[in-house]
């Protein structure tokens, strides 16, 4: 049951959630197969965090624990409970997620610059592929390409984008 708005509770909760949200989302995504699954679990985790929030606990640690448990439950309910990652790996992913997500706003800003540096057709391709209904096979058909050649182009563009973002972050450091 969703709690009705409660200003003081929200004032405490929301900044805490905002601080860890990107890292938590990344952590959940790293443990699951696709964005859709990760989005579903993130939704569930956020609701649990809101409903069971207790200001006395270490929020980050608790939230990552909840996320881990919810991922596990999700995988089990989907009959995909193979232990892909061991505990050490999960802990490590949690730790690195925090690090990577710390730079998320810078990454987003740099990504915008890097997208601008792309050739127009490359930029259109990657944004279209990621847009609402961007299915690769349909997109390939629209562009008169095979899905495989389109996917390879996309692969190269993403590789270039990541490299561009990494270079920009390294330069700023």
């Amino acid at each position: 049951m969703m709690h009705p708005p409660d200003n003081s509770r929200q004032e405490e909760f929301l900044p805490l959630l905002a601080e860890i949200e990107n890292g938590l989302r990344l952590f959940i995504r790293s443990l699951l197969r696709d964005r859709e699954e990760a989005g579903e679990v993130m939704q569930r985790v956020t609701v649990i965090l809101w409903e069971k929030y207790d200001s006395a606990v270490d929020f980050r640690k608790w939230a990552y624990g909840v996320a881990r448990l919810e991922v596990l439950k999700y995988r089990q309910s989907c009959q995909r409970d193979r232990h892909v990652f061991d505990d050490a790996m999960v802990n490590s992913l949690a730790e690195h997620s925090v690090d990577v997500a710390k730079e998320s706003s810078r990454r987003s800003a740099e990504l915008k610059h890097c997208l601008e540096k792309l050739k127009e057709n490359q930029r259109n391709l990657v944004l279209e592929a990621y847009s609402t209904c961007g299915r690769i096979d349909e997109l390939a058909q629209r562009r008169g390409q095979t899905p495989m050649s389109l996917y390879k182009s996309l692969h190269r563009i993403r590789q270039a984008l990541l490299e561009c973002v990494q270079n920009a972050l390294a330069k700023d450091d």
Binding site: A18, E21, R35, T46, C78, V84, S92, K112, L127, H155
Partner: protein
């Protein structure tokens, strides 16, 4: 900074990696933290690109969270809503607003990520269902296709579509406005259908509402009315025509488990089965509406379609064009109610070549002396008819068709002319076996789907797939068909 792992990581993220490739990557990540870091960086890029592409089209709120925090108190609640991000969104058109009246708590089967906070903007729900909670705690399930907007936390304008609302004491007075009139809660659970052919309908599941068009009337549990500007007209109560929170949860879980994908996969497999006579999904508007009266509504999966029959005589037509000594016929149905009498599902036309073996399939009760054997009521039955009425055989199921009311249910029948066996299935389980004699070929010619009689037939509910094979399903295959095609 190219790495040998770039390609494999991207394949893994896109879901294209094979099991062997995934294991290879995991091993590398376990032994080399830099691969793990690269994996996370690609994931971050993937999420950011998704947001970037989404922002250009629909301005989703999710990324805005950190900018909203520490602003206006009302907006902080919006922030929470934004944080509650949904996996599968819909294409709705977001117009920024600083007021927030409700929060999306669950969406099923929509098309894209979107904002979770609902302000004054008009929302188009194109597929799936959207469950939201108003600031006062009213829980509303909106079913696509629908369009709505909030005028305040207590007042919602339903432009089109249907909703169910569970209104607790804290939200007393919650009002749904339609073009036909308005419905004001007086402590209740109710449904509103703004897509009715002539005005809007209100159905009271529990409690009391005030329905108001030109006149005002109090409706209580079990009441239903059509509002059309100047008058309120009594209607047959259709409790099950609306998706409520419990069913929405079940739909959500079913989709999460991949039921829709399973169904599609199975359908593709069966499409190559030479014994398949017809698989009518009612998804292609070109094949619908050529004849008959019905509403086109959401099917058992988000984005799919079903026919809804509401009024007496509502029907459509199909022609499977086949004659066979063996068949399996299956239909997904969701009945609103099952009045006394015979309620048709599939009714081969009597005038079709005046043939023996025209298939009639119906829910019926035992009130008619023409029905044999007579026992029990509202059974799922199949009837082989002949014009001169000299040969009438009415094998029937044991289960009452009333068991299908209010939920999606799979009803199925197999017929084998060699043995005279007619077997009835309900949700994949064998319910009853009956015999017919003489053993004639079954004819699937021009047929009415839904009601064939305008005076006494009243099949009220939705009909999704109708599937006919020219062979007999085994019990195991029937169970499998059910488990692969069920929505929850």
């Amino acid at each position: 900074m190219k790495s040998q792992w770039d390609e494999l990581i991207q394949k893994q993220i896109d879901g294209f990696a094979t099991v062997v490739e995934a294991e290879l990557l995991i091993t590398a990540m376990q032994s080399d933290p830099s691969v793990q870091r690269l994996y996370l960086e690609y994931l971050m890029l993937d999420l950011a690109l998704h947001a970037e592409a989404g922002l250009i089209k629909t301005e989703p709120m999710a990324l805005a969270t950190r900018f909203i925090v520490a602003t206006h108190p009302v907006v902080r609640w919006m922030t929470l809503a934004a944080c509650v991000s949904v996996a599968v969104g819909c294409v709705w058109f977001w117009v920024g607003s600083t007021k927030q009246f409700a929060t999306v708590v669950r969406s099923v089967g929509m098309l894209a990520d979107q904002s979770q906070s609902i302000g004054q903007e008009t929302r188009d729900v194109l597929t799936g269902t959207l469950e939201l909670v108003t600031n006062d705690g009213a829980r509303v399930v909106v079913e696509a296709p629908a369009k709505f907007r909030f005028e305040s936390a207590k007042r919602m304008y339903l432009v089109s579509g249907r909703l169910s609302a569970d209104v607790p004491e804290s939200a007393h007075g919650f009002t749904v406005v339609t073009s036909g009139g308005l419905v004001k809660d007086m402590g209740t659970v109710f449904g509103v259908d703004a897509d009715a052919r002539d005005g809007a309908e209100v159905h009271v599941f529990d409690g009391e509402v005030i329905a108001q068009s030109r006149e005002k009337r109090t409706l209580v549990t079990g009441d239903a009315a059509r509002m059309r500007g100047n008058e309120l007209e009594h209607l047959q109560f259709r409790d099950s025509a609306f998706i409520k929170p419990d069913e929405n949860t079940a739909l959500f879980e079913g989709r999460r488990r991949g039921q829709q994908d399973r169904c599609e996969t199975l359908k593709q497999l069966y499409m190559t089965d030479p014994s398949l006579l017809v698989w009518e999904s009612f998804d292609d508007p070109e094949t619908l509406g050529k004849e008959g009266n019905f509403r086109r509504v959401q099917g058992r999966f988000p984005g799919s379609h079903a026919l809804e029959f509401v009024d007496k005589g509502d029907y459509t037509v199909m022609d499977a064009n086949g004659e066979t000594m063996k068949f399996t016929i299956l239909a997904w149905v969701r009945l609103d109610s099952l009045p006394e009498g015979m309620q048709s599902i599939y009714h081969g036309r009597r005038d079709y070549d005046q043939q023996t073996g025209v298939v009639h399939w119906m829910f019926r009760n035992g009130g008619k002396n023409m029905i044999l054997p007579v026992s029990g009521t509202n059974r799922v039955g199949v009837e082989f008819d002949k014009l001169d009425d000299k040969i009438l055989m009415y094998p029937a199921s044991k289960l009452s068709g009333r068991d299908t009311v209010g939920n999606w249910a799979l009803v199925g029948v197999t017929y084998d002319a060699d043995t005279g066996s007619v077997r009835f299935y309900y949700n994949g389980d064998l319910d009853n076996e009956d015999q017919v004699n003489p053993r004639v070929a079954a004819v699937f010619g021009p047929a009415r789907i839904g009601n064939w009689h305008q005076e006494e037939r009243l099949l009220s509910g939705r009909l999704d797939d109708i599937v006919i094979f020219q062979r007999v399903f085994t019990d195991h295959e029937m169970t499998s068909f059910y488990s692969q095609t069920k929505p929850y």
